[in-house]
């Protein structure tokens, strides 16, 4: 086992840090937030040029064959830099789903080239008891293809997407379809999210799909869906770790600088102990991520449990750290002019996507005894 970064991983980390230094920070973040899509097209081109969109794909698919650890390195830095581009939706969830399913080689190539953005149109309710379940979207075989009807809610990164991977019921079984967002019969209501990214509610009204737009049905569709959600959850958890670690460094720097009563407020023990607790939480959060990574190739049950275990620790840590980060920043923590508040909102978004903290607590508890 090797926990230190390889030379390649170090180069990857350094190049993301350069990207963040040039394109993000408060100014860059404001620029991206102003986009209706929730991301900036020039940033997206850079993601492609730097090879990051190719990273998680197998070499046969035109990718770089990066490991899960490589992806984690990239995602931790994205989280630290509050990068909003739809990387997880496009590459980690949908792109890899298509690569795994096969038969969409051209589109996967376009994803790697940065020419197409994808979103996973799956969730239908605000707080699904089963994040895998689909009930409100139905595909019916008609003629040579299918007719898709139903609705999806809060589809992250859909606002600027070219295609959607849509989960739907096909008769009694699960199905996955590839849908062009410009299709007739598709209407989309887009809105910004609190972290500056964007999402959409999507309605399919007898949307006609040729047969070749069916990605998978039955057990394969269910497996692909679960894998996509778990890969996405892992990637977002790695972002959460990067973000909460950044909250710790932002806050420690702030209390060392901010003067009150003639000394830095970090000299006060009450504040020191909050910061120390934030430090403990951040250490445990990264450890939880490693726990999930270590179990990725175990049985599906063990992998899911480890992921839930990680989500419990990381999102609890994210809550504690980002909220106390605001507290220690005082009034400035309530402003948009300090990064701490942006990370706070990012932590909330990450926690709620594809199975929130309570869901993972319940799932983890259910398998415990």
């Amino acid at each position: 086992m090797e926990l230190n970064l390889s030379d390649e991983q170090t180069m990857l980390r350094d190049s993301v840090q350069r990207f963040v230094a040039e394109q993000y920070g408060l100014d860059g973040l404001r620029r991206v937030e102003a986009e209706a899509t929730g991301w900036a097209s020039d940033n997206w081109r850079q993601l492609a040029e730097l090879g990051w969109l190719a990273l998680p794909f197998a070499e046969e698919a035109g990718g770089l064959g990066g490991s899960l650890e490589d992806l984690a390195v990239l995602m931790i830095e994205f989280g630290s830099g509050h990068v909003l581009e739809p990387y997880v939706s496009t590459a980690v969830m949908c792109g890899q789903l298509l690569a795994d399913a096969g038969g969409q080689g051209d589109l996967v190539g376009q994803v790697i080239a940065g020419e197409k953005v994808l979103a996973f149109a799956h969730t239908e309710t605000a707080r699904p008891a089963d994040p895998l379940a689909v009930t409100a979207t139905v595909a019916t075989a008609e003629g040579d293809g299918y007719v898709l009807s139903g609705a999806k809610r809060v589809v992250v990164d859909a606002a600027g997407a070219d295609h959607l991977v849509v989960s739907a019921l096909v008769g009694e079984t699960a199905g996955l379809f590839l849908v062009d967002t410009a299709s007739a019969g598709l209407s989309m209501t887009t809105y910004g999210l609190i972290d500056g990214s964007a999402a959409a509610d999507i309605v399919f009204d007898r949307l006609k799909l040729p047969a070749d737009r069916l990605i998978a049905t039955g057990e394969l569709a269910r497996t692909l869906t679960r894998d996509a959600i778990e890969r996405g959850t892992l990637a977002w958890l790695a972002q959460a770790v990067g973000s909460l670690e950044r909250c710790v460094s932002l806050t420690s720097a702030y209390v060392a600088e901010r003067q009150q009563y003639g000394r830095p407020i970090g000299k006060f023990q009450a504040l020191q102990h909050i910061l120390a607790n934030m430090f403990v939480e951040s250490q445990e959060a990264r450890s939880a991520l490693y726990h999930a990574l270590a179990h990725w190739h175990a049985t599906p049950e063990e992998r899911s449990r480890a992921l839930s275990s990680a989500k419990i620790v990381i999102c609890s840590a994210g809550r504690y750290i980002s909220r106390n980060g605001i507290q220690l920043h005082g009034g400035y923590g309530m402003t948009e002019e300090f990064l701490i508040g942006h990370h706070f909102r990012r932590q909330i978004v990450i926690e709620k996507l594809f199975g929130d903290l309570d869901h993972h607590l319940a799932a983890f508890a259910a398998g415990a005894v």
Partner: protein
């Protein structure tokens, strides 16, 4: 970064399991399991188990090979301790194996190495640690117990407190003041003292967990050969700090925490037919989920330390974080345990009786009941000893953030 923790150690793990199976009688493991999770009163069991391990060459594997160590990679130590904890093997007399022993081989004379190390390695001598004093707890450097040099002897006068196991120890290692300086960390020395030396009086302190392993040690003009001084006079503080850096992951109590999670699950399963607190209890399951997830993370915090992961923060801060989470978890897990057994947690047990296994067993008063409450009560000390939770907070603020 390539995360694959155990893949090459499966053979070693099986070897450890086989050793435990062959050497640890089931009745003894059960006796230890049903007591509380600390075994200070089990010094005989500790020394016996160390002697068994010694025959295998495993009693002090982390020591340098020339003193009886095993030249293992860090993960082997982890596997050995994990398996022993899960099997309810006796814990070692850590004051000897982890503190006095390393102190002597790092800083002691050849005379001391020959005198001291075999007894620890072979499980023949019990040790205790004389650091704290009534006026020197968290502020340890304020200690006042004095050692005055007279010819080839030191004359020691003073008082120690919280000296675990002093009443049954053969030896104690003591921090004593050998000279006065403006800076109180200077002039402190490390002295080894046989506990049967005239002038030593030990008083056991009754504890709220129905134990009395904590002791007061009174030293009244105790004569100690000067050759029992470890290293140079006046270097005791430096040595003590170096010692604390040797074993940076022990304070996580990861193996104890893992074992108590297993026990908690066993308790929940056992209590299932018994009443409202069952495996279907939603609130209870949520509490279990939180602590189990935290133990999973804590284990990786330990593995990260063992794998020498490069960090942005100094090791002392990270070790303090292990202590904070490890001690919080001991308290949280044992508290849930006594909630699971309900009113059965209220029954007072005589600890010696429990240790000897002399109590009635039936489905209601089952094997896992007797040790739980005193275990939970004892766990309150986890955030007090070895640098309180608040001291750890100070250390993190200072070393990680320069505050």
């Amino acid at each position: 970064m390539r995360i694959r923790p155990y893949e090459h150690l499966e053979d070693f793990r099986q070897e450890v399991r086989a050793f435990i199976r062959e050497n640890l009688p089931e009745a003894e493991a059960r006796r230890i399991s049903r007591a509380t999770y600390n075994s200070f009163r089990d010094i005989g069991a500790s020394l016996w188990w160390t002697s068994r391990l010694h025959e295998k060459g495993w009693s002090v594997p982390f020591w340098p090979v020339e003193y009886g160590g095993a030249d293992w990679e860090p993960m082997q130590h982890f596997v050995l301790h994990e398996e022993m904890a899960m099997a309810d093997a006796p814990t070692s007399n850590v004051q000897g194996t982890h503190l006095a022993g390393p102190m002597v081989y790092l800083y002691g004379s050849d005379f001391l190495k020959e005198l001291i190390l075999p007894g620890i390695r072979e499980g023949k001598a019990a040790w205790s640690q004389g650091f704290s004093e009534p006026g020197a707890g968290s502020d340890l450097a304020s200690l006042r117990t004095a050692a005055r040099r007279e010819g080839d002897r030191y004359i020691v006068k003073g008082q120690k407190i919280w000296t675990s196991g002093a009443y049954q120890a053969d030896w104690g290692f003591f921090l004593v003041r050998t000279s006065q300086h403006e800076k109180k960390q200077q002039g402190i020395s490390f002295l080894l003292i046989p506990m049967d030396t005239p002038g030593i009086t030990v008083r056991q302190i009754p504890q709220i967990n129905n134990d009395a392993h904590l002791c007061e040690v009174f030293l009244d003009d105790v004569e100690v050969p000067a050759a029992y001084m470890v290293g140079e006079e006046g270097q005791g503080w430096t040595y003590a700090k170096a010692l604390l850096n040797l074993e940076r992951t022990d304070s996580s109590f990861i193996f104890l925490n893992k074992r108590e999670i297993v026990r908690l699950k066993r308790l929940i399963a056992l209590e299932q037919p018994d009443g409202p607190v069952t495996a279907d209890d939603h609130a209870l399951r949520m509490r279990l989920a939180v602590v189990e997830a935290q133990v999973n993370a804590l284990e990786w915090s330990v593995l990260r330390m063992l794998a020498n992961e490069k960090r942005d923060y100094p090791t002392s801060a990270i070790a303090s974080a292990l202590k904070v989470r490890g001690s919080d978890l001991q308290q949280a897990i044992t508290e849930i345990q006594i909630d699971v057994i309900g009113s059965k947690a209220l029954r007072r047990y005589d600890r010696d009786t429990v240790c000897a296994g002399q109590f009635d067993l039936d489905a209601f008063w089952h094997d896992d009941v007797p040790g739980r409450t005193y275990g939970a009560i004892y766990s309150r000390s986890a955030t007090v000893y070895g640098g309180s939770r608040q001291i750890q907070g100070n250390i993190i603020a200072k070393t990680a953030f320069g505050l």
